[in-house]
């Protein structure tokens, strides 16, 4: 199951909550303001790494990263475009954590 997160983790608890429910192997895709979670060197780096270590692939939507001026992203996080978002949806049911 693909989990999408669209809120900044600095202002909103969504990412932290989602992690508690995440099953091993389930991918996480950050979109919209959610992409601030994966900016390299911020304080959510440890949480991102712990998610990756549980075999949960982590993605961020590149157009949203670009829009926010984020060029350096946390190690292990892959950036995808809208076509890549569609690819993930082909492979998984979707759980949008609004």
């Amino acid at each position: 199951m693909l989990h999408t997160i669209n809120k900044s983790p600095f202002e909103n608890n969504t990412f932290v909550t989602c992690v508690r429910f995440l099953q091993p192997g389930d991918p996480v895709l950050f979109i919209e303001d959610g992409v601030y979670a994966v900016q390299a060197g911020n304080r959510f780096g440890a949480l991102i790494q712990s998610v990756l270590k549980k075999n949960n692939p982590v993605y961020a939507l590149k157009p949203d990263l670009d829009a926010r001026g984020i060029s350096a992203i946390a190690e292990g996080v892959k950036s995808v475009d809208y076509a890549g978002f569609v690819d993930l949806v082909e492979e998984h049911q979707v759980n949008s954590w609004l």
Binding site: M1, R20, F21, Q23, D26, Q93, V94, N95, L98
Partner: protein, 122 residues
């Protein structure tokens, strides 16, 4: 049309009254209940507040709806899952809630999520 029964989970995540999401979510659930699918509700984070007893909305001039959760049983919607941590963090217990629910660990609700065909957050 596909005639298989689909598993649809509604995830209540917001506090009631500050926004309409929970209320309109409940309207959606009541309609979907007529379609004989496999419906469930999960209450996570501030969503657990929707079930709090003794809500009196007269003062804010907004129609209350916590009692509508009691009506769900009549629609055969009986899978109401509450995240234990969300409840405890808010200083609430099952006794504070208007309906009988299953209080569960996040990992267990997470496992049920992965079995769903559709998950809708409200």
């Amino acid at each position: 049309m596909d005639t298989d029964i689909k598993k649809i989970m509604h995830v209540m995540r917001r506090a009631p009254h500050g926004s309409i999401y929970t209320y309109e979510g409940l309207e959606m659930i009541l309609i979907m209940a007529a379609y004989e699918q496999d419906l469930s509700l999960a209450f996570i984070g501030d969503g657990v507040y929707a079930l709090k007893k003794n809500q009196d909305t007269a003062g804010i001039g907004i129609k209350g709806f916590s009692r509508t959760f009691m009506a769900l049983e009549g629609y055969d919607v009986e899978k109401l899952y509450v995240d234990r941590q969300s409840l405890e963090e808010r200083g609430l217990t099952e006794d504070d809630l208007v309906v009988d629910v299953e209080v569960m660990e996040a990992s267990e609700i997470g496992r049920l999520m992965t079995e769903q065909d559709v998950v809708i957050h409200h």
